[in-house]
């Protein structure tokens, strides 16, 4: 007998807040975390805006926690903090009391300290023997010594988890895949609860060089901190961000036994691949459409029951019209797409890359719980190819019984969650 799956705790660390109430109030107010930014010591890097986590605020909020003081990547630190917050939010002091609990995390590119390169360098260029000679000086907090699954492993170790430990790397769809897999495992009674979400930080030299070489982040200086403009005619690329979002998912039995009132219910998950191009989505959005269709089918939800979509909405020239077409395809019956509210949180959060789906899922959960939809800000000059109701610039209040949250990644990897308002 499949179990219902509830969201009972949420934690977030991002430029827009270090807990979900702050994130939510900022999203509803249309505030942006995007600000002028530069790589340390490099004044002429073409990417000039980002949405970083404020280190001072983070240290003030989480600095006393001893296990966050160890050497680790930024994303791991953010993820551990978000996990602690999610558990505290759920009122869980000892995870083992929940039964078999696992963790699934979406993560992206390992962080590598540029100074580590120096250890290999000689006047003749990088040399292996030089690296050997200097191996003791490799930064213990980044890259090599922190595997890509470091966050998942640390969460499992810190909370003595006995369930599955998954690190998923499906680019910008990573966190949504992680949440979806956790949902599936609980629904099929493999586990009683899962810590799910994502963490990422791309705001370092090697990764930003790589992303810029692909032409993905915007380098426009036309709009200042209003640079991230999903579905706007003048959009020119994403704005990179960093952070983490973690959710505690529990089976109905587990949540009931604790007597908690869930925030919302996850009822469906779909994933798909475009099989089109490595660096571009299918222009018709066929992969994205398939992902949404599979999620709705998984949830046994008719498209007409959906009122809101938390879009991937990256503000890139290619994603936004493709996602619009995909939505039109799936919600074609009675032109239901005309009645949908489609919001793009990235206009305020920036793009958390592999972690993006986590705070966006949290926002989706809060939309169905509170009947409020955050706006897509900076939508000033609508693109004719993007002709849906994107909740421009001002939040809206409306009942949201069922909502989708979309994430689409490089390589044509797509994932969609279906979130339903909790009803006992």
């Amino acid at each position: 007998m499949p179990s219902r799956v509830f969201v009972t705790g949420m934690g977030v660390v991002c430029g827009l807040g270090l807990d979900w109430p702050t994130l939510w109030s900022n999203l509803l107010a249309g505030r942006s975390a995007i600000r002028p930014w530069q790589l340390p010591g490099i004044t002429d890097f073409p990417v000039r805006y980002a949405a970083p986590v404020d280190d001072h605020d983070f240290a003030k909020r989480f600095g006393d926690l001893p296990h966050l003081k160890q050497p680790m990547e930024r994303r791991v630190r953010f993820g551990l903090a978000a996990t602690l917050d999610a558990l505290a939010d759920a009122g869980v002091k000892n995870v083992s009391t929940l039964g078999t609990v696992g963790v699934a995390v979406g993560s992206g590119v390992p962080e590598r300290d540029p100074d580590d390169f120096l250890l290999a360098l000689t006047a003749q260029g990088p040399r292996w023997d030089e690296l050997f000679r200097n191996k003791a000086h490799l930064n213990p907090g980044t890259g090599l010594t922190c595997g890509n699954d470091a966050l998942a492993m640390r969460i499992a170790a810190h909370h003595c988890l006995k369930g599955p430990v998954l690190n998923i790397s499906t680019a910008c769809a990573g966190a949504t895949h992680a949440i979806g897999l956790g949902f599936r495992m609980i629904r099929r009674n493999e586990v009683s609860a899962m810590l799910v979400g994502g963490a990422d930080s791309v705001l370092n030299l090697p990764t930003m060089v790589g992303l810029h070489l692909l032409g993905a982040p915007s380098i426009s200086d036309q709009f200042g901190d209003r640079l991230c403009r999903p579905f706007d005619k003048d959009r020119s690329g994403f704005v990179a961000a960093e952070g983490a979002g973690m959710l505690l998912l529990e089976s109905e039995q587990c949540a009931q036994a604790r007597g908690v009132t869930p925030y919302a219910e996850i009822v469906g998950f779909g994933s798909s691949m475009d099989a089109y191009r490595i660096t571009a989505p299918h222009p018709s959005g066929t992969g994205a459409a398939l992902s949404m269709q599979r999620a709705l089918s998984d949830a046994h939800v008719e498209p007409t029951a959906v009122t809101c979509i938390n879009a991937h909405g990256t503000s890139t020239p290619l994603n936004d019209p493709a996602e619009t077409l995909a939505i039109k395809t799936i919600f074609a019956t009675d032109q239901h797409y005309q009645r949908l509210m489609v919001t793009a949180n990235k206009s305020m959060l920036g793009h958390l890359i592999a972690a993006a789906g986590a705070p966006e899922c949290i926002a989706t959960v809060l939309s169905v719980r509170e009947g409020k939809i955050p706006p897509t800000i900076n939508l000033e000059n609508p693109d004719p190819a993007c002709d849906l109701d994107y909740v421009p610039n001002t939040a809206r209040q409306k009942m949201v019984p069922v909502a989708l949250s979309n994430s689409f990644g490089f390589g044509g990897l797509n994932a969609t969650l279906v979130v339903r308002r909790y009803e006992n």
């Binding site: 790589l39 010591g41 002429d44 992206g108 590119v109 390992p110 540029p114 100074d115 580590d116 390169f117 290999a120 360098l121 006047a123 990088p126 292996w128 690296l131 050997f132 191996k135 090599l144 595997g147 890509n148 699954d149 492993m153 499992a156 170790a157 003595c160 988890l161 599955p164 430990v165 998954l166 690190n167 790397s169 499906t170 680019a171 895949h177 897999l181 495992m185 099929r188 493999e190 030299l205 090697p206 990764t207 060089v209 790589g210 810029h212 070489l213 692909l214 994933s271 798909s272 691949m273 099989a275 089109y276 191009r277 490595i278 660096t279 398939l290 490089f410 390589g411 044509g412 990897l413």
Partner: protein
């Protein structure tokens, strides 16, 4: 015996590109004759005496693999990706041509890689060379060189995202269904297999491709393993990885790709495909302590796997153990084997002395090895074993042993602190 769920999940296609060559026959030939596939270490830019041997894919095979990547996709494809694509082609052919009747949307793809496959220091080499000044990097110059003069690999981000195997394979072989990319060192493989089985059992897919790939041939990764004392100095040349031997002195790292086609047994039978092995059950658990120390948790995990599937320890014909060859890992694994299989008739062998540590492809190679043992009714020896770590375990030494087995177990302990075990069943039992 019963599998964890009622519907059996079977492997119907196997493909591999390994240091032993292409395909299961090449692996079997090396394994049964005790010929390690380790070669003097090579790298385009690294010169070192500290890594004497490595499990390299033979050059000719690499060249063959590169050819099957469509030209327009080659710029995104490091060598290990090309090897993966070749392994997948072989696995799909092995599964029978009518696999392609399955709709693209019903084809699931689950890949596993390790971090070591991410872009390495040499992706930046030109920019670094230009930007180097005595004891410091001029990052301004580095940035200019990287961004404007192609001083860095332009597809760095794609290669570095660690999911490029998933993306490339979906394009080349038209897989558009359920998917996942797991990046967890060697321990990525079992979650990928678990999710593929889950997807098939719960009707999210009709066919599932599970692919493990990667290489340890990356400067910083090798440095770290050397620093941790994992690597054998290889005084005995290619015969230096001595799994479960009292005189073992470390492991040999390697590279490779293995691909499996998985199906529900009923679907496989309907389309006339031949099941090669049944995935009976999987456990995968993080360890409370370092992977190189014996943990009672590992014993509990295997016991729970046996209990779930109704198998008694004596029912197991063969264990394909990990046997990394490091002092600590093999001591811990020996203690595990003694706790479960001491004084039983269970035979224990290992592929590591032949293949080395393959990261994400390793556990799939072990499963393929068990499949071959079932089929050939024979167990190859642990090639380099002379002085076993335990007299209470039936380690297979010397010649190939003739033995018909119906149930086998593979054991996996990864460097990053996971333990996993798979229970495998011979089809038709």
């Amino acid at each position: 015996m019963r599998t964890e769920n009622q519907e059996n999940i079977v492997v119907t296609g196997i493909g591999m590109v390994l240091p032993t060559g292409r395909g299961l026959n090449a692996l079997w030939s090396a394994w049964s004759t005790g010929q390690p596939a380790f070669f003097p270490y090579r790298h385009e830019r690294i010169r070192t005496q500290k890594i004497p041997f490595f499990g390299h894919i033979p050059e000719a095979l690499l060249a063959e693999a590169r050819q099957i990547i469509p030209h327009k996709l080659r710029r995104f494809s490091p060598d290990y990706t090309a090897c993966t694509a070749l392994a997948v082609r072989d696995a799909l052919e092995n599964a029978g041509s009518n696999w392609s009747d399955v709709a693209e949307e019903r084809r699931g793809l689950y890949t596993c890689q390790s971090d070591s496959t991410s872009a390495d220091i040499f992706s930046f080499v030109r920019a670094l060379e230009v930007a180097y000044q005595t004891n410091r990097i001029d990052f301004k110059k580095f940035t200019q060189e990287s961004l404007h003069r192609r001083g860095s690999d332009p597809f760095l981000a794609i290669k570095n995202l660690s999911n490029n195997v998933l993306a490339l394979l979906s394009l080349i072989y038209r897989f558009r269904g359920d998917c996942g990319a797991y990046v967890q060192d060697e321990s990525a493989t079992l979650p990928a297999l678990q999710r593929a089985c889950f997807s098939l059992r719960h009707d999210y897919s009709d066919i599932a491709l599970v692919v493990g790939a990667g290489t340890y041939n990356e400067a910083m990764v090798l440095t770290e393993h050397y620093k941790l004392g994992h690597l054998s100095p290889c005084h005995a040349g290619p015969h230096s990885l001595r799994s479960f031997d009292c005189e073992r002195d470390g492991t040999v790292l390697a590279e490779g790709a293995v691909a499996f086609v998985l199906e529900r047994e009923s679907s496989a039978k309907r389309r006339g495909a031949k099941p090669q092995i049944i995935i009976g059950g999987i456990v995968n658990t993080p360890l409370d302590q370092r992977a190189s120390m014996y943990s009672p948790q590992t014993g509990e995990a295997v016991r729970s796997l046996l209990a779930k599937t109704g198998v008694q320890p004596d029912d197991c014909g063969v264990i394909c153990a990990d046997g990394k060859g490091t002092a600590q890992h093999d001591a811990a694994e020996t203690a595990l084997l003694e706790s479960l299989f001491a004084e039983t008739s269970v035979s224990v062998t290992s592929l590591r002395p032949i293949l080395g540590v393959l990261n994400a492809a390793g556990p799939l190679a072990d499963i393929a090895g068990v499949s071959a043992m079932f089929h050939k009714e024979a167990i190859p020896p642990i090639a380099t074993l002379r002085h076993p770590t335990s007299a209470r375990i039936d380690f297979v030494q010397g010649a190939v042993r003739q033995k018909s087995c119906t149930v086998g177990i593979t054991l996996h302990t990864s460097f990053n602190g996971f333990f996993g075990a798979l229970l495998l069943v011979r089809p038709g039992v």
